[in-house]
Point group: C2
Chain length 429, copies 2
């Protein structure tokens, strides 16, 4: 049996009013067995110990929307208007990506995520089997779906079914079904995706209402909002759906969505960088819609840093609501943990530091000028911390980073290979 | 003679189209003597060398608006509406601050600034002589002014004059005159401040048009916008002015300000956190107003991290202008370097890496997953980097941080003392 003890540590359990000032977390075979203040009294033989002194433990972050291989495109085509950026730079580059490049880009993004405290991510990209391989190598949880888009959708749905079959018993990789969006998928496609999701009992990962243009397109084509296009196809019926962006959801959309197991995934930095707009997060939460957080791909962010994303998430809502109390630090942490766990159907396994839950835990090192005084640990994490303050990362009970050092991968080698892949793709253009 | 060589380094000189892929910077007695690609050919005796391999050098950041001792108040009174936060928390706390606390808070903020690449800062707070002491201990450049506010303004102006006399020959500390704002200073006060600034030939540091309320107040009292209140007092005449915030400058204000040596200091994170609004930065720049960047105090930010501030600065303008090309990475870097140097009257000494300029230089370590590929170094610094990627900091030719380690202060001790001060002040409430 694998036994792990984190001791002398502050603990953000994510249960309200349950911050443990100094305590321990005891883990057996990847499952949290005890979370208490004071010292561990149990059997200490064959026990790996982590001294958490000066650190705060919290549940690992769940990045609910990204395209991880696009880390390779970080900074590529910077400064162009959106459509020129896509047409002249991103799409031609992506067309030349080979499996090896996708793998190298995925590993680069995964290292970045682990180092900034992400322990699970929800991904939409081509060749998710390759990304799955990267996840397993890094021991990170991947919730992966190949994009279903345009005319070739039937084959893509088949691919999803094959992927599902391949990974249905996997501990770390789960397959989601990922129709791209209501404006790039046909009505028939969305209808079929809804059916398949119900049949396989897997969540749907989709983009909805990211831009004003998208709303114009679906209104023009169907006289429906993007969310109602999905509704009309039956996509949401008895399914669990994660919808990235939701910038232009209107009141009627929200009222309709309340009838479903639906999560809006807020991507504030990408929405700002592409000048898309501000998702009505406070309004959605007030109405009762589950909201989680994502970084989107590194090519429109330009990083995969959930600590930074939380800060922007809260600041942007305060500004947008003209209310300095909007989306406070604890609520913001919920987007990245508890709400995210609910979004991916893991509400009984992830998002809290709690007995019986999976040991996906990060330690933030507070021995730094910018994290003192420790007046409000929630606020310090959301508004003052940097991704680099994450000192130790445990996923499924395994220590993947300890004392700032990645244990599962050779970071230098991954960086080298990603740079090489980038140049190789450029040479093919 | 002190000789310092930074070699094998990429150099962002901040001159347009002059990025040096691999070169060196040679420094004598705090002054940059050579900046070239390739290797240094000069005399290598008695030469301290820094190997910049894998790093990018750029001019140190100039934080153009902060209240550094307020670092002690980080996270204090978090989540309250603005006026309750000020009245119930911030002001009563500040009233109990003693010199020792101000000193401890200043040192904490200064360490944070150095570690995230800031080499100069413009400050407004009580007891600037104490803050000056902290600056000299840390070898950071301080441009300091005690606030002039309310009824006691005559004595406060006298204090500024005394401070000026004390530091007028100092290399690292310069005294600015700092009337708080057009809504908290009387007409007579602003008139006198303008006179004194002209007489001493020192810049003015003020808050202008931070909130809608401020505009209502000055319109109600004088039938003038905040900027025009200053104008009417002659404050801007033949003076150099740095005005923090400028969120609610209107077109007439901008046209008027173009006639003066005026800089708007953009504080995006503070303006978002306090739900104040968005400064019209792109419009101001287009009209020809100089714009620089500041963090404001840590109690409304909640850190003093200029790399993070640059990212928010650009993202917020893109969103606000509905234009993904607005305020690009290079322009954003200008706010924190070149434009800032102009704002403080150091345009011939700071802001560029250039022969004859002061050696205020930082090295950013690109050997990290989140800074690769290195497709666009400007974009990677503004959108992907963290403050903690700053590896080495040189101020006035002196190495104040090397290989991530602060050389000038004992960080642990400063953190300990700041936490103690915070508790001491609380106990006096």
């Amino acid at each position: 049996m694998d036994k792990l003890l984190i001791e002398n540590v502050g603990i953000i359990t994510m249960e309200e009013n349950n911050f443990i000032d100094e305590g321990y977390i005891y883990i057996e075979d990847g499952i949290i067995k005890e979370v208490k203040s004071g010292s561990f009294k149990g059997e200490k033989e064959n026990l790996k110990k982590i001294n958490g002194i000066g650190c705060i433990a919290l549940p690992g972050f769940i990045n609910c929307h990204t395209h991880v291989p696009m880390t390779l495109l970080r900074g590529y085509g910077e400064g162009l208007p959106l459509m020129r950026w896509l047409k002249e730079k991103i799409w031609p580059f992506e067309a030349k990506l080979e499996e090896e490049d996708i793998y190298n880009g995925a590993l680069l993004g995964i290292i970045e995520m682990i180092k900034s405290g992400t322990t699970s991510f929800v991904d939409m990209y081509f060749k998710e089997d390759v990304i799955a391989k990267a996840c397993k190598e890094a021991n990170i949880r991947g919730f992966l779906g190949n994009p279903i888009i345009g005319d070739g959708w039937q084959g893509q749905v088949e691919d999803t079914i094959s992927l599902f079959e391949k990974f249905k018993h996997d501990e770390m990789v789960k397959i989601f079904i990922a129709p791209h969006s209501p404006y790039t998928c046909s009505f028939e496609c969305l209808k079929e995706v809804g059916e398949v999701a119900r049949k396989l009992n897997i969540p749907i990962h989709i983009h909805i209402a990211e831009t004003k243009d998208e709303v114009y397109i679906t209104k023009d084509k169907y006289s429906l909002s993007p969310a109602f296009v999905c509704y009309e196809t039956g996509l949401f019926d008895k399914n669990k759906t994660l919808a990235a962006h939701c910038v232009y959801l209107n009141d009627a959309d929200m009222e309709m969505l309340l009838n479903y197991d639906f999560t809006a995934v807020y991507n504030p930095q990408s929405n700002m960088k592409l000048a898309s707009g501000v998702a009505p997060v406070v309004k959605m939460i007030r109405k009762g819609i589950n909201v989680a957080l994502g970084t989107d791909g590194a090519s429109s962010n330009n990083n995969l840093n959930m600590i930074e994303e939380m800060q922007t998430a809260s600041l942007l809502q305060k500004l947008n609501c003209s209310d300095a109390t909007a989306l406070n630090a604890f609520e913001t942490l919920q987007l990245a943990t508890v709400n995210a766990a609910k979004a991916i159907g893991m509400e009984n396994n992830l998002g809290y530091i709690k007995e019986g839950f999976y040991a996906d835990i990060i330690l933030i090192d507070f021995n730094k000028a910018h994290l003192n005084p420790k007046t409000d640990v929630y606020s310090n994490i959301v508004f003052s911390a940097q991704g680099s303050d994450v000192k130790t990362v445990i996923i499924n009970g395994k220590v993947v980073m300890e004392n700032y050092e990645i244990k599962v991968l050779d970071e230098e080698k991954v960086i080298f290979k990603a740079n090489k892949s980038f140049k190789d793709v450029l040479s093919r253009l």
